[in-house]
C-alpha cells in the first residue's frame, strides 16, 4: 500500500510557508512526534519554502508533499524554478559575518541540514526538489 500523503500547492505570497508548517504540525501530532521534532520540522520547512519562494524564480506555485511512513516523515519541497548548484554554496560562519563585509544571510541550507535526519537536493535548470526526512 502507498504511504498516506498530504500534498500542498502554495502560491508565492508572503508568509505562505506558515500553511506548510501548520500542516506539518498536525501531521507530526498524528505521528506522535515530539514537540522538539515538530519544531525542527517547522524550521526546516520554513527555510526550504522561503528558498523556493525567493530564489527559484518559479512563476506561480510551489509543491509540498508530506509522506507519512511507518518510522519517518518524508517531506518534499518542489519548485519549478531555475535550480542551483549546491556544491557552489558557501558554508556560512558567523565569524566571517560579524564585523565583516560578508552578507549576513545564507543560513537556510545549513539549518535544514542541521535540523533534519537526512536531506537530499535534486536541482536542474527546470527546478529543485528538496527531500528531507525526520525519523520517529
Amino acid at each position: 500500500m502507498n504511504s498516506p500523503t498530504v500534498e500542498l500547492k502554495l502560491p508565492i505570497l508572503p508568509n505562505m510557508e506558515l500553511v506548510a508548517t501548520q500542516t506539518a504540525d498536525i501531521i507530526a501530532k498524528h505521528m506522535h512526534l515530539s514537540e522538539d521534532q515538530s519544531g525542527e520540522i517547522t524550521m526546516a520547512l520554513i527555510e526550504t519554502c522561503i528558498n523556493a519562494f525567493e530564489h527559484s524564480k518559479a512563476g506561480n506555485n510551489i509543491f509540498i508533499h508530506f509522506i507519512i511512513e511507518e518510522s519517518s516523515l518524508v517531506i518534499k519541497v518542489i519548485d519549478q524554478g531555475i535550480g542551483f548548484d549546491k556544491s557552489k554554496v558557501a558554508i556560512p560562519k558567523i565569524e566571517n559575518k560579524i564585523g565583516k563585509d560578508e552578507r549576513k544571510r545564507g543560513w537556510g541550507l545549513q539549518l535544514i541540514q542541521a535540523l533534519m535526519d537526512s536531506v537530499e537536493f535534486e536541482s536542474t535548470d527546470s527546478g529543485t526538489t528538496v527531500t528531507m526526512t525526520k525519523n520517529k
Partner: protein
C-alpha cells in the same frame, strides 16, 4: 498576516523588547529599527523577551546579526530570554550564542546584564 508586534520597556539602563509573532524579514526589521533608534539616544544594553515568538526564519535572525554588529561598534550588548526550544536551537546553529547571551528567564537575564 505575520502580525509581528513589539512592546518596548526599560529596566535601569536596559531596553527590553518583548516580541510577539513570526520573526521574519519584517519582524527582524522592526527589532532592528527599535535598536538603532534607542542606540542613537544612548542605549547600549538590549534584551529581547522572545516568549511570544514561537517561530522565526533565517532572514529575520540575520537581521538580528546586524543588530549585534551595530552594538559591537558601540560596545553594547544583546541578550534574549524566554526562547522556544526551536528558536534557541536555531540561534545556536547560527552561532549567535557566541556574540550575544541566551538566558532562560528575565530574572537571570537582568542579573547578569
Amino acid at each position: 498576516m505575520s502580525d509581528f508586534k513589539t512592546k518596548v520597556t526599560a529596566v535601569n539602563e536596559i531596553v527590553i523588547i518583548e516580541t510577539e509573532g513570526y520573526l521574519n524579514n519584517e519582524g527582524g526589521q522592526m527589532v532592528y529599527d527599535i535598536c538603532i533608534d534607542k542606540m542613537a539616544s544612548g542605549s547600549r544594553k538590549f534584551l529581547l523577551n522572545l516568549s511570544g515568538t514561537k517561530v522565526v526564519n533565517s532572514i529575520g535572525v540575520s537581521i538580528i546579526i546586524e543588530v549585534i554588529e551595530k552594538l559591537q561598534e558601540v560596545e553594547g550588548k544583546l541578550g534574549y530570554y524566554n526562547m522556544a526550544p526551536i528558536v534557541e536551537k536555531t540561534f545556536h546553529i547560527m552561532g549567535l550564542s557566541k556574540y550575544s547571551s541566551l538566558y532562560k528567564t528575565e530574572e537571570l537575564a537582568l542579573l547578569e546584564f
